[in-house]
Amino acid sequence: MEYFKTIFIVASINVVAVIGMTIFTGFTGLFSFGHAAFIAIGAYGAAILTYFYHFPFVLALVLGSMLAGLVSLLIGYPTIKGNLGSDYLAVALLGFGEAVRVILENLKITQGARGLPGIRICCTVPVIIIAMIIAILVAKHLVLSKYGRRMVEVREDAVAAEMLGVPLFKTKYFSFFISALFCGLSGGLLAHYYGFIQPAMFTLDQSTQILASVVCGGIGSLTGPIIATYIFVFVPEIFRFAKLWRLVFYGSALVLTMIFRPSGLMGYREISFNSLATIHKQLSRLFNKIVS
C-alpha cells in the first residue's frame, strides 16, 4: 500500500508540472527542453524558505512558484521576444535549463552538489490532491477563456492569429509564465515530499519526461497528458524486473506515438462525461450487434 501511495504521489507531482507544460507546448505549440529548471527553482525556492527561514509550507510553495514565474519572465523576454523558431526556442531553453543546474551546484545557499537534506516533509496525499485539483481547474478555466483560445490560435497559425489582433509576444510570454508557475509549484511539492533535493535531480531527463508526457498525451488536450503522466510513472514500475531496459520504453513510446498517433493519445480532444457516455453507447451497440 505504501508502495502505491509513493508511486501515486510521484506521478501526481509530475502531473502538476505536465499541466504547465501542456499550456506551453500543447496549447501554445512551443517546445522546451528546459522546464526542469523551473521545477528546480520552485523546489529550491520553497525548500530554502521552509528550511532556513521556517516559513509555513503553503506560503513557501506559493513563493517558490512565484520565483519560478519571475525567472521565466526574465529568460522569456529575450528568447520569446527574439521570435525564435520553435526548435531554436527549445534549444535556447535547454541551455537555460543546464545553466540553472550549474548555478544551483555553485551557490552557497543551495549547498551546491551536496543538496539540501532534511527538508520538512509536508506533502501528503491530501495536499497533493488539492494542489492537483487547483492546477487542473486553473488550467481548464484558462484554456477555455480568451487567453487559452489565443494560445490555440498562435499554435494553429501565428500569422493569421496576428492578423486577427492576437498579440503574439504577450500570448507566448504569458503562456511561458504560467507554465513556469506550475512547474515551480510541482518543484515545491517535490522538495517537501522527498525531504531532500540536489541539482542532479533536475536534469535534461526530467525536462524530456514532462515534454514526452505532453506529446504522447496529445497536443491540445488537458486530460491526455495527465493520463500519459500516470502511464509513464506506473508502467515502468510494472516492468521493474526489466531494469535499465525500461528506459528504452520511453524512447519507443515516443517513436510509436509519432508513427501511429502523431497527434498523441488524446490529440485535440478531452475526456469528459459526455465522451464517456458516447463511448459507452458505442460499446453497447457493438455488444448488441455481436449478441444478435
Binding site: 486553473v138 484558462l142 487567453y147 490560435e153 497559425d157 492569429a161 486577427l164
Partner: protein
C-alpha cells in the same frame, strides 16, 4: 473622405527593391483594384499596411494618422483588416471557433474573471457565441458551425475567411486574391458575396486579383503595378486599353524582336 493614404512607399528586401515610389489614396466606400503580374509587389503593399513588414521609406496614413509605426493589433483596432492569398484558417478548429477567434479581440474581461468564471466572463462568452452564430447565419454558413474548418470545400473556406475578417468589424478590408484557384461558378459567387458585404457593412476595400472579371465588376478604380512601380491608374475601361499595361502583361513586340536579334 480619404481613408487610406500611401505616400512615396519604398520597400527593400536586401538589395531587391520590391516597391518604389508608390503613392495612392483610397477614399471612403471606394473599391480599389490592385493588379499586376506576379512579383509586382501587390501583396507587399498589404503586408506593409498591416505591418507584417516594416517599411523602408515613406508614410502610410489611415484617417490622417500615420500607422506604419503601429503594432499589427493596433492597426486592426483602427479598422484595417486583411485576408490571405493562401487561405489561413485555423485548420483544426471548428468553423464557429474560427469566427469566435476574431470576436475575442474585444472581449474585455480579465484573468481573474476567467479563472473564477464571474458573471462578467459568462456574459461576454455568451455574447461572443451568439454574435458568431449570427454572423455565420448571415453569411449562410450556419450549417457548418461544428465542422472542423479544413473539412470545408475550398470555396466555403474562402467565405469563412472573409466572415472571420468581418467579425473584426473592419472599416477597410484588404482582400488578397479572394478568387484565387476558383472555378467560374465559384468566382461569380465570390463576386456576389463581396458586393453584398460591401453594401451591408459600408466597407472600403482594396482587392488584389488576377481574375479580371472580379476586378472589372467590382472596382471603380484600378492601380497597375509592375516590378514594384506603379505603371497605370484609372477606370477598368481605360486600363484595358493602356499600352503600358498590355506591355507589362504580354511584353512588347518590338522589344521581343530586338532580343531575338541580340541572341542571334
Amino acid at each position: 473622405m480619404v481613408l487610406l493614404e500611401l505616400q512615396q512607399i519604398e520597400k527593400k528586401f536586401g538589395g531587391i527593391c520590391a516597391l518604389k515610389g508608390i503613392s495612392f489614396v483610397v477614399n471612403k466606400n471606394d473599391i480599389l483594384g490592385l493588379i499586376g503580374p506576379n512579383g509586382a509587389g501587390k501583396t507587399t503593399i498589404f503586408n506593409l499596411v498591416t505591418r507584417a513588414y516594416d517599411i523602408t521609406n515613406g508614410l502610410i496614413l489611415f484617417k490622417g494618422k500615420p500607422i506604419n509605426k503601429m503594432r499589427t493589433d493596433q492597426i486592426i483596432n483602427l479598422g484595417v483588416v486583411r485576408t490571405f492569398q493562401n487561405i489561413r484558417l485555423f485548420k483544426k478548429l471548428t468553423v464557429l471557433d474560427n469566427v469566435k477567434a476574431s470576436l475575442y479581440h474585444k472581449a474585455n474581461y480579465n484573468l481573474l474573471d476567467a479563472l473564477f468564471r464571474t458573471k462578467n466572463y459568462k456574459k461576454i462568452e455568451r455574447d461572443i457565441d451568439k454574435e458568431a452564430k449570427e454572423l455565420l447565419r448571415e453569411m449562410e454558413l450556419e450549417k457548418y458551425v461544428g465542422i472542423q474548418s479544413d473539412n470545408l470545400p475550398y470555396g466555403l473556406q474562402r467565405k469563412l475567411e472573409i466572415t472571420r475578417a468581418l467579425a473584426l468589424a473592419p472599416e477597410m478590408l484588404l482582400l488578397d486574391e479572394p478568387a484565387a484557384g476558383m472555378n467560374p461558378k465559384e468566382v461569380t459567387d465570390i463576386i456576389r458575396l463581396i458586393q453584398k458585404i460591401y453594401t451591408e457593412y459600408h466597407l472600403t476595400m482594396v482587392i488584389i486579383e488576377h481574375h479580371m472579371n472580379v476586378i472589372t465588376s467590382l472596382c471603380n478604380n484600378i492601380i497597375v503595378l509592375n516590378f514594384g512601380r506603379r505603371i497605370a491608374e484609372g477606370t477598368p475601361e481605360n486600363i484595358q486599353k493602356d499600352p503600358k499595361v498590355i506591355e507589362a502583361y504580354l511584353g512588347s513586340s518590338t522589344q521581343k524582336k530586338k532580343d531575338e536579334i541580340a541572341y542571334a
